[in-house]
């Protein structure tokens, strides 16, 4: 009996010695990943702006948006969104609302030399905390003023903490990007291959 017990204990210890490293081994994807801003390469979108004394029109991908009239009064609704634009200093202040609630507030400014355009967008998501998106664009052509072709060269988001988290768990993955305009998600993995670590 004692011998049998010793044998069992020995077997258990041997099993544990082999099993523990397996338990400790983690999926190499899992964990926090810190963004290295020095490696960032960004090729932003290009837009065309046609501005006059009454307001401006933005064209993206050859498709012109509705003209934004900047007289301080609410514009006609477009897809349920009411835009109110006012001239402010060297630019514009635009507020978009839906069902009486603010969606975002945008401040657009031109640099004194007319070569840079900055947009600061305060966004109020219906199901999240407000945050601020700031973009800078450089002039490719046109002018003076806002009219011309602009290329976005940088963007920052106030809630971007620079940390990506990934956790692969069987057939699903929890995923949170550094920019929290995209929430934590868990979704079924489509698996044509085995992931590293599985």
């Amino acid at each position: 009996m004692t011998k049998m017990c010793r044998t069992s204990l020995c077997a258990l210890a041997t099993f544990a010695a082999f099993a523990l490293p397996c338990v400790a081994q983690q999926n190499p994807w899992n964990g926090s990943w810190k963004l290295d801003r020095s490696t960032l390469k960004y090729d932003g979108p290009t837009v065309s702006v046609a501005a006059d004394d009454s307001g401006f029109t933005v064209t993206r991908g050859g498709k012109a948006g509705p003209k934004v009239v900047c007289d301080g009064k609410p514009n006609a609704p477009d897809n349920g969104v009411i835009t109110t634009c006012s001239k402010s200093g060297s630019g514009y202040e635009v507020e978009n609302t839906r069902d009486g609630k603010q969606i975002n507030k945008i401040k657009i400014e031109l640099s004194p030399d007319g070569k840079k355009l900055s947009r600061t967008i305060d966004i109020t998501p219906p199901d999240g905390s407000p945050y601020t998106l700031t973009t800078t664009s450089k002039r490719l052509s046109g002018g003076p003023g806002f009219s011309g072709v602009w290329k976005e060269t940088s963007f920052t988001e106030s809630q971007d903490n620079g940390v990506l988290t990934i956790e692969v768990k069987g057939d699903s993955v929890d995923f949170k990007e550094t920019r929290s305009r995209l929430p934590v998600s868990s979704t079924a993995l489509q698996r044509p291959h085995r992931l590293a670590g599985q």
Partner: protein, 57 residues
């Protein structure tokens, strides 16, 4: 949002709005497991691309 394995060290994340792809992110894990390179592609009408490297923390 959908996540697809596009190879043993690649995750492809697709964000769609009303059935149209709004953004496609590809994450590639380095062979030593110390870095992940992200490539972020936003298609027309406002196409843009972004790439950046993450280090394990």
């Amino acid at each position: 949002m959908s996540v697809k394995q596009d190879g043993p060290r690649t995750l492809k994340v697709t964000y769609s709005i009303d059935g149209k792809v709004a953004r496609e992110n590809t994450f590639v894990l380095s062979s030593d497991g110390k870095t992940v390179k992200e490539t972020d592609i936003t298609p027309a009408p406002s196409p843009s691309t972004m790439s950046v490297t993450f280090h394990k923390s």
